[in-house]
Symmetry: C2
Subunit: 209 residues, 2 copies
DNA sequence: GCGGTAATTGTACAAGTGGACAATAAGGCT
DNA sequence: AGCCTTATTGTCCACTTGTACAATTACCGC
């Protein structure tokens, strides 16, 4: 018959397929048979790897969170302070944010999701705090309360992402303008300095999911 | 048997019950039998008033949007410019925002929802633009581009609402501080002026749903 | 090779879904 | 009063869902 995969390979394959479907159909609508079809196996096999549907989607989201945080940190490491800060705010792929938005709406009803989301959010804030500190240390900006600045800018980025990805009310350029402009004002940077430091959009690190 | 209601009464009753359930369980999980049980009738009756489940939830959301926009505008009419602006940003009830967040996540897959959401969002922005203009006309603040300011502050308010309502990461006080502080800075108001103008929290206009 | 572990299949089932529809009964109109 | 519209009920159906499980069949160590 068809070739057989190792336990770990299959597990990972199922996770990624699940996440792909979540991005398309939303958490609530992903079915075990959907996942099985996406992977190309029988739905009974999914059960062999994950005890229940809830465990599967929770694991998929948790895995996505973990993988993305690693990826983000690595991607910004080699850049100059301003470029890294601008890169952090640059538009993320749609698949990506649609999953977060979906997670927001499910979190109040799904404790496991809420926990992973909380972890991810705090981690994102911490990354932004570090980026702000790098800019301040380099003498290129100022921040009285980096944590408060990070919290505010994260909220703004999320809200802008909603307007851009979920509602299509604003384009990617305007989204960048709003967030980068607010960051410049907030951190005492010269207007346009972040926009100029904006690196080439490094999209696609979500694509290989 | 049980007393009979007029067509319009029942229609409205079903709409409100649907919306209540959407706030609790999310759009995707609301079932015709859930709505019927909430109203206290047989699920066949729902079909008598709404041709399909999709039509029902779309109608419920559309009705909520319409009703809320009226309510908001009326609520802010009698206030002084600064108080009205502060009141607009004051925390909205959780039920309320959870529905919007859920709508964001469903909109990319449900055109009817996307349309209603778009309408609601543009209307909200317009209300905020008017509030900003009132403040500027009263000589209490400045705005070079009220539309851009409104768009940015709306995004921020939405992002803060996510952190507050969906993730529980920040409390209501901190949420107000972030949004009001950003508005003060953006509109050239003295720090704290909006916080002081903050009217008594007028919650509950969603409660009668 | 041979055997056992486990990955994979296929099928079965109970619960719940949206939708359809005939039967009933309440209430307004003449 | 009787009638006729229609709100309301109860039941039925085809379908999908998550879960369960016995039967296979590939692979790996001996």
């Amino acid at each position: 018959m068809a070739e057989r995969k190792t336990s770990d390979e299959r597990r990972d394959e199922i996770l990624r397929a699940t996440l792909r479907l979540v991005a398309t159909k939303g958490f609530a609508s992903v079915t075990l048979r959907d996942v099985a079809a996406e992977v190309g196996v029988v739905h009974g096999l999914i059960r062999h790897y994950y005890a229940s549907r809830d465990e599967l989607v929770a694991a998929a989201f948790d895995d996505a969170v973990t993988r993305e945080l690693e990826s983000d940190r690595a991607q910004l490491e080699g850049l100059a302070p301003l470029a890294a800060l601008a890169g952090w705010f640059s538009a993320t792929p749609a698949h990506h944010y649609l999953v977060w938005i979906d997670a927001w709406s499910e979190a109040p009803r799904t404790p496991a999701l809420a926990a992973a989301l909380d972890r991810h959010h705090r981690h994102c804030e911490q990354i932004l705090i570090d980026l702000i500190l790098r800019v301040v240390d380099a003498g290129q900006g100022s921040s009285i309360d980096p944590a408060a600045d990070a919290r505010m800018l994260t909220a703004l980025a999320d809200g802008v992402a909603v307007q851009h990805h979920a509602m299509g009310i604003i384009g990617v350029d305007e989204a960048d303008t709003i967030v980068l402009g607010a960051a410049e004002q907030r951190l005492g940077l010269a207007p346009g300095s972040l926009a100029r430091a904006h690196p080439a959009p490094a999209r696609g690190h979500w694509a290989e999911v």
